[in-house]
Amino acid sequence: MALTRSRKRTSARTRGRATQLARERRTRQPKPPIVALRDATVVYPGGHVALERVSLEIERGEFAFVVGPTGCGKSTLIKMLIREIQPASGKVLIAGRDINQLPASKVPLLRRRIGTIFQDFKLLPNRTVYDNVAYALQVIGASRAEIRRKTPEIIRLVGLQSKIHNYPDQLSGGEQQRVSIARAFVNHPPLLLADEPTGNLDPETSIGIMQLLYRINRTGTTVLVVTHDREMVDKMRRRVIALEDGRLIRDERVGGYHDESTREFAARMRHELGVTPDQADQPE
């Protein structure tokens, strides 16, 4: 019992430190935007143009949505940002660096600095929740002590401490997505990409996931969410980047609500989406 309490205190302190660091980062000027696209064009083999001359900038600490109908190039955008595919022309800059200039051997280093969340979770099926999250730390060569300290901490943050030794196929969709968020965030990357994170989930679970992403955003991490859930996006009142047929058709910076707490955020979301609260699936 005493051990649990002391661990909780550590986790709170770490989070506090992260927020503080994030604030410092925001005040220090000038820094290149975390994401910058310059006329990025992606052409798939066969000639299909997935993205056409897309230019945009996302500042550090932002929470932005990319919306658009299926096949508009949203997922291509994500893949381009982690250099799974390369643009035919144009530039992709992450923190001011052109990632397509990186040698192939440095691509893993780039991916460690970007957390990625997918609609299909992409968890390792033969590993427990703990091992899935720990893998992200093992990859960067973290010490065993570090892994033992950080992994339970982040799993508690996403509210899965009771399922820590379960395998992914024993979890619900929402829980699996929480694991994938934990894995994406355990290294505290400055940028978090989410490709349809709520695509397979019901509205109430979706709010829980968005609440989690919002909380991560409040630690200073830039969060970019790709979704086709227009309603959710409208209610969130955040920046919205709309794509259609591979072209950028709208980029609105909607202000407001930047200082609401995650609790207020969730309550508002539930109210506006007309979902009755279901505390069972909520962390804390």
Binding site: I82, P108, L123, P125, I140, R144
Partner: protein, 302 residues
């Protein structure tokens, strides 16, 4: 060190969690190694047998019963003087009878004793340095005369007989056997390499999603590859160990008792068991590890 432990535990985890493909890979390696373990000694033995046969080929010069001691001594000197002759051994009538008696058994030996006189001729057994020179030596002892009949160099010679025809037949047959076995061995080796490669590819293919996830999390290629290679080493070692155990069982229960009774089987154990085992285990392990490592390349392209 921590890394190595992590990779090894990852490899064992993968083996545990995908038991069926792992067992398939191990069985493939067992079969292949067994085949090689049998073929290699057989091939080696047949090669040795051929050279054995070739070494045994010589000439026999049979003498008239009425040849005098002086004629025989003179002939021996003449024979020794011929080029390519390594050695000459005189076998008297009595010795010839003893040799024959030694080869016969039971009734046959008794019936030999009942013969009143010894029908066997005395002879010279001639060793020749190389079977290819057989004809030359034979011609030197009994050159063909003007009338087409052989004219021996000594009146004591009744007949010169060589095992030339038999010998060349034996060399030709054993040569063919070696070639056929060699081709078979190469074919089997290629087939088994493909089989092992394919089995490994299947087991990795089943996990390509996993590899994809690892890449997305930012694992370097070697970080992903090492557990697979170690897994390959474990599979190769296990398979080879099982195969060697079976081979050893076969050697102890079948080959060893046989070789005590049959000279031919005895020569099959020409290759030492220890070097064979080391070779088999090393090659199985290397093939398996390389197979894993190389197959992964396809999934590791960024």
């Amino acid at each position: 060190m921590t890394r190595l432990l992590f990779f090894v535990s990852e490899a064992f985890r993968a083996l545990r969690r995908s038991a069926a493909p792992s067992v398939a890979a191990i069985v493939t390696i067992v079969v292949t190694t067994l085949l090689l373990g049998v073929l290699i000694p057989v091939l080696k033995a047949s090669e040795d047998k051929t050279s054995d046969v070739r070494e045994q080929i010589g000439l026999n010069v049979y003498l008239h019963d009425d040849a005098t001691k002086a004629e025989i001594d003179a002939l021996e000197r003449k024979l020794l003087a011929i080029e390519h002759v390594d050695g000459v051994e005189f076998i008297s009538k009595n010795e010839a009878a003893k040799i024959l008696a030694g080869r016969l058994e039971g009734d046959l030996r008794n019936s030999l004793k009942e013969l009143k006189s010894n029908p066997l001729p005395a002879s010279f057994a001639i060793d020749i340095d190389d079977p290819d020179n057989l004809r030359a030596v034979s011609n030197a002892i009994a050159p063909v005369g003007a009338d087409g009949e052989p004219e021996p160099i000594s009146p004591a010679i009744e007949e010169v007989r060589d095992a030339r025809q038999d010998a060349s037949k034996i060399t030709r047959v054993t040569g063919a056997v070696t070639v056929v076995l060699g081709i078979l061995a190469v074919l089997l080796l290629v087939a088994s390499l493909l089989l092992v490669g394919n089995t490994i590819r299947l087991s990795i293919y089943a996990r390509r999603r996993e590899v994809e996830v690892m890449r997305l999390v930012g694992a370097t290629n070697w970080f992903i590859r090492w557990p697979f290679i170690i897994e390959g080493v474990i599979v190769g070692l296990t398979g080879a160990a099982i195969a060697v155990a079976i081979l050893w069982l076969g050697k102890v229960t079948v080959v060893d008792p046989l070789s005590e009774n049959f000279e031919l089987v005895d020569s099959f154990s020409t290759m030492g068991f220890a070097p064979l085992v080391i070779m088999l285990i090393a090659s199985a392990t290397i093939v398996s590890a390389l197979g894993s490592g190389i197959t992964l390349r396809r999934f590791l392209r960024v």
